[in-house]
């Protein structure tokens, strides 16, 4: 009996502790109320977590896909440049794992902090819906970059390049490297990666649309889960299962590097192209037989970051709302217009950029 009483008391103490801990701050709650009012008394006590009210500058938050991702780091650097140039401050949140669960935790915390705008590179198309709408209700502007969510859940999507254009470009590369006919395979990240699937579908659609590609045969889409080990296994399996394979297309940075290493180590005649980071790939790029990748594509991640940062600032300042047809200036990048693609508004950076053995070192040295 005594134990039960004690348990109850402890529960009560715990609840009281929570309330006491928080209760006192109740009157300071308005400070957290999203749209960030002018500095109030709590500001002095809390220099660090400026809720966007410091000096009228806007606070922008970027939620990346996960921590420890060099690709995302480039984006973050670009966003930081643009946001700071426009007089704002940037909070970068790297979720502990590449899951929607972990992103929700981070976004939830950002709502508490009352930032002005949240940029998300979504790990899942649907699962962020509830928390993003909560952010919107709190007056926070929401936009996506690199990887999108459903159009209704965000104001605008900053797209690296048009999906169909990426699909077409990758298909043309495969066509070119295969010499117009023969087998090719795709090595993707996970079977669930939204943008990977969109690009692969675009490739298939482009192939069906034009009889020029009739001689080209897609034999398999393999998934390396963006793990070097699994990507290696899958690449080796492709080589073994399809002795006549001519080209592998890997639209993922981890996959393309792993595949490049397998092909180069084995001295295979199979050629590789796809989307990759110059710093990861410079070892493997060359047109001769000793190198596996003659050319590949990506977009300028820093510029994508710059554009994302500028878009976020424009949204936070109320210059744009995310509707199609609106125009804004993105720093040195020039003027951009929001376009409507199948009912989803987006800003498109530009066509994918081609990396060749000649320019890859220069870009790698730039940190990309």
């Amino acid at each position: 009996m005594k134990k039960k009483v004690i348990s109850l008391v402890l529960s009560a103490v715990m609840a009281a502790g929570m309330m006491a801990g928080c209760g006192q701050a109740q009157q300071a709650a308005p400070a957290a109320d999203a749209a960030a009012p002018a500095a109030d008394s709590t500001e002095a006590a809390a220099p660090a977590a400026d809720t966007g009210s410091a000096g009228g500058g806007k606070t922008i938050a970027l939620v990346t896909k996960s921590a420890g991702n060099a690709f995302m780091e480039l984006l973050a650097n670009g966003v930081k440049e643009a946001v700071e140039a426009a007089g704002g401050t940037l909070i970068v949140k790297d979720p502990s794992a590449a899951t929607a669960d972990a992103q929700i935790t981070e976004i939830s915390s950002l709502i508490s902090q009352g930032v002005d705008a949240i940029i998300v590179s979504a790990n899942d198309e649907n699962a962020l819906s509830a928390v993003l709408n909560e952010a919107k209700d709190a007056g926070i502007k929401v936009l996506t970059a690199d990887s999108d969510v459903a159009a209704a859940d965000r104001a605008v999507f900053v797209n690296q390049a048009d999906v169909n254009l990426i699909g077409q470009t990758l298909l043309d590369a495969a066509y070119d490297l295969a010499g117009g006919s023969g087998q090719y395979a795709i090595l993707s990240a996970t079977s669930q990666a939204t943008n990977q699937n969109a690009w692969i579908d675009a490739m298939k659609a482009a192939q069906e649309a034009d009889p020029k590609y009739a001689e080209l045969e897609l034999v398999e889409v393999a998934y390396g889960d963006d793990e070097p080990q699994k990507s290696t296994d899958q690449t080796q399996a492709l080589l073994q299962n399809y002795p006549d394979l001519k080209v592998i297309v890997a639209p993922t940075t981890v996959g393309i590097a792993a595949a490049a290493k397998v092909l180069q180590d084995q001295g295979s005649s199979v050629k590789l192209t796809g989307l990759g980071l110059p710093s990861e790939m410079q070892e493997y790029m060359g047109t001769d037989d000793a190198h596996s990748c003659p050319y590949m594509y990506l977009w300028n991640m820093i510029e994508l970051g710059n554009l994302t940062g500028s878009t976020a600032m424009a949204l936070a300042n109320g210059d744009i709302t995310g509707a199609a047809g609106e125009k804004f200036t993105a720093g040195d990048l020039g003027d951009y217009e929001i376009v409507d693609v199948n009912g989803a508004t987006q800003v498109v950076l530009g066509p994918p950029f081609q990396f060749t053995p000649e320019n890859v070192k220069e870009w790698a040295d730039k940190g990309m």
Binding site: S7, S11, M14, C22, T99
Partner: protein, 332 residues
């Protein structure tokens, strides 16, 4: 009864307020209060409104502390719970999108959990030679595998009708519904474990299975029940997680198993069985949530947060051991 507590900071005999404060649960309450005071000092936005707003996602996870507590007390372990959560939410989404009314969706979700738990329990009791860690490691891959296959390429599904889920996410006063359910659950499960014969039998099984068997306790039945319980709670976790996610994907619930086990251990439940108090696990869960919320609001590197939680976990088991050693020394 005080001996049930996994770690005693003091050897003061049972009874009296002093012993209660000096017990591990007492220390946990003090830590919880300290964390909250720390939160208010360092983060200007750490207040009741925000904490309760950020809480629901964490609370869903806390439902599993009870089941895991039971399993650990029995001396078993279940590392498939994260995958069960994934499978349950997937099934719930399919059921919901097929037009099933919300109560049916809930039953489907929790029922799936029950089935998964029963499967774990069935294998564990049928093949007693196998450690439950390795069984649940296998089912961990299988349950998530089933979800992966049924989700197909794309790997993600969203609930089209969210009215039922929104009802689950409603708040009563400032508190989310799940907060009350957790408290009620805590009272029920702690009472069962501490006050009933069933609970005492669990401790008996965990301390010494052979002895318990000869004392006439149906050990295997107890284990099956515990795994089934665990499955049901994973189902409940899934339905509340759905109320914050509105959908499921192949990574849902990833890593939950370790987090839940960490909460139990931090709360003083020994993984070797027969020791510990569920109340401790329950308080420890809230400590970890509050720490995560504070550090999140201070934008601390999320990986550093994991380092801090890891350190806390180790300190929570090392400190009592050291203090025990110091107490023994003078006697030698």
């Amino acid at each position: 009864m005080a001996g049930k507590s996994g770690r005693e900071i003091s050897a003061v005999p049972e009874g009296g307020l002093k012993s209660k404060i000096l017990s591990w649960e007492g220390a946990l309450v003090l830590i919880l209060i300290a964390v909250n005071i720390f939160g208010v000092i360092v983060s200007p936005v750490y207040n009741a409104t925000n904490v309760l707003r950020e809480m629901p996602k964490y609370l869903a996870e806390a439902f599993m502390v009870f089941g895991m507590g039971y399993i650990l007390v029995l001396g078993d372990i279940d590392i498939s719970v994260g995958s069960i959560v994934c499978l349950c939410s997937t099934v719930a989404c399919f059921a919901g999108n097929a037009g099933a009314p919300f109560p049916v969706v809930m039953i489907a979700c929790i029922g799936t959990g029950l089935l998964c738990g029963l499967l774990n329990g069935f294998i564990a009791t049928r093949f007693t030679e196998l450690p439950t860690m390795i069984i649940t490691l296998g089912t961990q891959i299988i349950f998530r595998g089933i979800a992966e296959v049924s989700l197909g390429s794309g790997g993600s599904i969203s609930m089209s009708d969210t009215t039922g889920l929104k009802a689950l996410a409603t708040k009563i006063g400032p508190f989310p519904l799940s907060f009350f359910l957790i408290i009620i659950g805590a009272v029920i499960f702690i009472t069962i474990l501490n006050k009933t014969t069933f609970g005492r039998k669990m401790y008996a099984c965990g301390s010494n299975q052979t002895a318990a068997k000869y004392a006439g306790i149906e050990v295997q039945k107890m284990r099956l029940t515990a795994f089934a319980f665990m499955g049901v709670q994973a189902g409940i976790c899934a339905i509340f997680l759905l109320s914050t996610l509105f959908g499921a994907n192949t990574t849902t619930g990833n890593g939950f198993e370790m987090e839940v086990i960490a909460m139990c251990v931090f709360g003083g439940i020994a993984t070797t069985g027969g020791k510990g108090n569920l109340l401790g696990g329950f308080i420890a869960a809230f400590i970890i949530f509050c720490i995560r919320i504070v550090l999140g609001q201070k934008n601390v590197n999320t990986q550093l947060v994991l380092v801090i939680i890891g350190l806390m976990l180790i300190l929570s088991v090392v400190i009592p051991a050291i203090s025990q050693a110091f107490k023994k020394k003078p006697k030698v």
